[in-house]
Amino acid sequence: MKDMYILGIESSCDETSVSIVKNGTEEIATIISSQIDIHKDYGGVVPEIASRHHVKNITIVLEECLQKANMTMNDIDAIAITYGPGLIGSLLIGLEAAKTLSFIYNKPLIPVHHIAGHIYANSLVKELEFPLLAVVVSGGHTELIEMKKHYSFNKLGGTLDDAVGECYDKVARVIGLEYPGGPKLDQLSNEGEDTYKLPIPLNDNSYNFSFSGLKSAVINLAHNEEQRKNELRQADLAKSFQNVIVKSITSKVRKAILERNIKHIIVAGGVAANKALRKGMEDLANELKADLSIPPIKYCTDNAAMIAAAGYYAYLDKRIGDLNLNSKSQDILQ
């Protein structure tokens, strides 16, 4: 088969990104325009503001990516687009751009689920081996997904309430860290000791997670310390909290590896950048002799390279869309 160059577009939250990937594995060029500084002032992503920036940025990001790759639209074989899940107003900008390019250049349009993108970020680093377990951890998702072959997804379990990244940001706020607090909390924990006793959430026999109870426990703890006029030892709380999160995730991953005969574990999503979690997963993989892939930090946050990579395998699986494609704020990966 001849080489296939896929242009990926991602705009599901607050990053406008365009990338060109060859054969689903080789990144040619990626541009990401992040709005993180804009939303910082509001303590979180404001959907309408995000949409307004996507429409401003979209053609600039497209042009910069093609220039960086030294290619034109005529060199592109197909266009992959994040159709969902995400913020609907944001998704629509990428969608309309992708549909317009597909129409003008008469190229196949490949709808990609955002989580499939996070999983396939790993294919830019290392070939996937099956059966595989994808540990998807981000601000919107906490899921264990089993894959027996390319582009086949079987959800084993997921969070019953808050996503792990969401829990991180909320706890970070309680500790007094600025949005986005997750990475700052991760760093702060290095300076602390595990001295606060927190409950291990949903310590059961399922593949599911629950983080809202842990979040409430931290909020109550901070509140009680304040009432008692005790100083809140931020770093110790960060450390204690991280340990519980990592324990909760690795215990379910351990169960999956043993029960489902998993060969290859991949960690995907923004929280894959978390150092404590990376360490916990490495220790577990070593112990159980499973292969582990954690994408470099640049592929953990939202980017279009992962969408273009996933798009290649979606294309091979004949999952091709048409101009009637619409965005979906929620959709199950299947």
């Binding site: 307004r52 429409v55 053609t59 309309e96 009637n324």
Partner: protein, 206 residues
């Protein structure tokens, strides 16, 4: 060959115009489906007329005010189209297009319901010259402004009981395109919506 796109309301208004003639035209109420159907409908105009996307030499797009999401749908299509084929693009206000579609030779007052007692509006003279610039104001304030004007025609797609002489907006796309086809072109990267209103988060922060 000019492509006209307006998705600033629940309606899709689009046309391919050539040498003072409409080649193909769409006027349809798409409600919440605009994001899905806008592009396939536009593509179908090309199919029917046996034209290629590259036959278009200019784009005129409505960049607001109106539905925030709606504006962005048409504008994204238009700016990506113009950028990728490197063709001229120009923007017009929805209110300008509405004023040009008045039925009577009078002062024209296009009005779009912006909810909570507010409207997007402007006032245009008989030659479509701007008397009151496009803005987001309280309906009551607009009524004050109109007290000084003897005869005028309101053009709207929304329900207002406040005005005697009201025409339902049905765009005369040929007239709009002919009127604005020589307006100064804009770099596609700089083509942006005119919301005429900050987001709620920005307003609360002020």
């Amino acid at each position: 060959m000019i492509l006209y796109i307006d998705t600033s309301s629940r309606y899709l208004y689009s046309a391919i115009v050539n040498l003072n003639k409409i080649i193909e035209e769409i006027k349809e109420d798409d409600g919440q489906n605009l994001s899905e159907v806008a592009l396939p409908r536009i593509a179908s105009m090309f199919e029917k007329s046996n034209l290629k996307p590259t036959d278009i030499k200019k784009i005129i797009v409505v960049n607001g005010p109106g539905s925030f999401t709606g504006i962005r749908i048409g504008l994204t299509i238009a700016k990506v189209y113009a950028w990728s084929l490197d063709i001229p693009i120009t923007t017009i206000y929805s209110l300008e297009a509405m004023a040009l579609s008045g039925k009577q030779e009078k002062i024209h007052v296009p009005i779009i319901d912006a909810r909570r007692g507010f409207v997007y509006t402007a006032i245009y003279g008989k030659e479509n010259e701007e008397i009151l610039k496009p803005q987001h104001i309280e309906l009551e304030k607009l009524k004050e402004e109109l007290k000084n004007i003897e005869e005028y025609e309101v053009i709207t797609n929304d329900e207002f009981d406040d005005f005697k002489n009201t025409t339902n907006y049905d765009p005369n796309i040929l007239k709009i395109v002919e009127f604005f086809k020589d307006r100064k072109e804009i770099n596609p990267h700089a083509v942006n919506p005119e919301y005429l209103k900050l987001t709620e988060a920005e307003e609360n922060k002020k």
